[in-house]
């Protein structure tokens, strides 16, 4: 998940009109879409704002680990691709902020919540990108996990969110393939290059599995979110799917996922795999990720460094209005 799910209770307030609530639940159960001006329970609105804004923040902060390598990409081809990929992530953030705004939350509020450290974003982006192979691992695994999570959200009950997800999913496939291609080339390269690829896989594997969120038994709001169709598959179901498609992809290029417990289980038709270290996950959620502070400092710096151009654009717009008035 691109959201961390450590959310307050999403219980519906009993003061709300019971008839309206029943009609709403029936529409959602029938897979109808809810649109911005439709009546919705406050808890549904709140949960969505939190989920969509966290998702948006993840796209925006997600540009930082990769931005780190744009100027050091090993070729012009790789540089152009990485630039385009990072630009897409900015676009994803914007689609999602727009979707969240339709619920009545201002963009500035969300940006402020991110910069003040109040808002959460995906734990994955608080890990450092140490080598070029990390760019390959991120595209392959992190975007791969994001796709796994986002594809079902194209049918989520809130129209603007679902439409944003359709756009995002159209663009994600390129992200994953360019990452896998990087890994493929490194894995077929010199011994040092192959070691670099394996090392990146070793470091990104477990954090990628954590992206799907805590195990189902520790995910108290899953049932409510599934009923509201703002989540369509459970964390453990998605994690299993991800392992099942990714392990053979690693095999295909001669890399090994860093989990000795990975083994095909004929009976369940999927791989068994080892325990995720959830204490690490919860620590990173709480802000103890290896580069959490750097990420927020970089984000705030980018925002502050851009202040002059926002001010200039405002001044120019005001001047144009004055000119038209005078004419």
């Amino acid at each position: 998940m691109y959201t961390t799910e450590l959310q307050k209770s999403a219980a519906v307030a009993s003061t709300e009109d019971a008839d309206k609530l029943a009609a709403f639940e029936a529409r959602v159960a029938a897979d109808e879409f809810i649109e911005p001006k439709d009546w919705m329970p406050e808890a549904y609105r709140r949960t969505l704002v939190r989920q969509i804004s966290q998702h948006a923040h993840s796209e925006i902060v997600g540009m930082l680990p990769e931005g780190n390598w744009i100027t050091r990409a090993p070729s012009l081809r790789r540089k152009a691709i990485l630039l385009a990929k990072v630009q897409d992530e900015a676009g994803h953030g914007l689609y999602l902020y727009s979707a969240a705004e339709t619920l009545g939350t201002a963009r500035e509020e969300m940006i402020e919540a991110l910069h003040s450290g109040k808002a959460k974003y995906s734990t994955i982006f608080n890990y450092p990108t140490l080598t070029w192979a990390d760019i390959g691992a991120i595209g392959w695994l992190v975007d791969g996990a994001a796709i796994m999570n986002q594809v079902p959200l194209q049918r989520t009950s809130y129209g603007p969110y679902a439409r944003a997800m359709v756009r995002v999913c159209k663009e994600e496939s390129f992200h994953q393939r360019q990452g896998y291609e990087i890994m493929m080339h490194l894995a077929a390269g010199t011994d040092a290059q192959k070691r670099m690829a394996q090392d990146a896989l070793n470091r990104w594997w477990w954090p990628s599995l954590m992206m799907f969120g805590p195990p189902d038994e520790n995910s108290p709001n899953t049932a409510q979110s599934m009923r509201w169709r703002i989540k369509r598959e459970t964390n453990d179901e998605l994690r299993q799917k991800f392992v099942d498609i990714t392990v053979p992809q690693a095999d295909a290029i001669g890399l090994t996922v860093p989990d000795p417990a990975v083994q095909w289980n004929e009976e369940k038709g999927g791989y068994d795999f080892g325990q995720v270290d959830w204490s690490e996950f919860y620590a990173v959620v709480k802000g103890e990720g290896p580069v959490a502070k750097e990420r927020m400092a970089a984000r705030r710096k980018a925002w502050e460094d851009g202040a002059w151009i926002r001010e200039a654009a405002d001044a120019y717009a005001a001047k144009q209005v004055e000119k038209r008035k005078a004419a």
């Binding site: 676009g91 914007l94 689609y95 663009e171 926002r310 654009a313 717009a317």
Partner: protein, 94 residues
Amino acid sequence: MSKDWPLWEVFVRSKGGLSHRHVGSVHAPDAEIALRHARDTYTRRMEGVSLWVVPSASIIASDPSDDGAMFEPAEDKIYRHPTFYNIPDDVKHI
């Protein structure tokens, strides 16, 4: 805290001959920058040949709670559809 720029709704004509379609929104201080932001946000993959941006505040929307009064009157006017009329099979081109 800074103040958000006004919101603009973005419409894209995907190719000649088709209507502009709503694709999303952008914030911008003026129309020119709204167009540039719309270009960068919504047409990075040749999604369009023409863009419209409209101040969101200028859009007047129907109220979902009036859906019934607005749209139900059309429901019982099935004679507005060609399938309402029974024409013998051997009559052609109609």
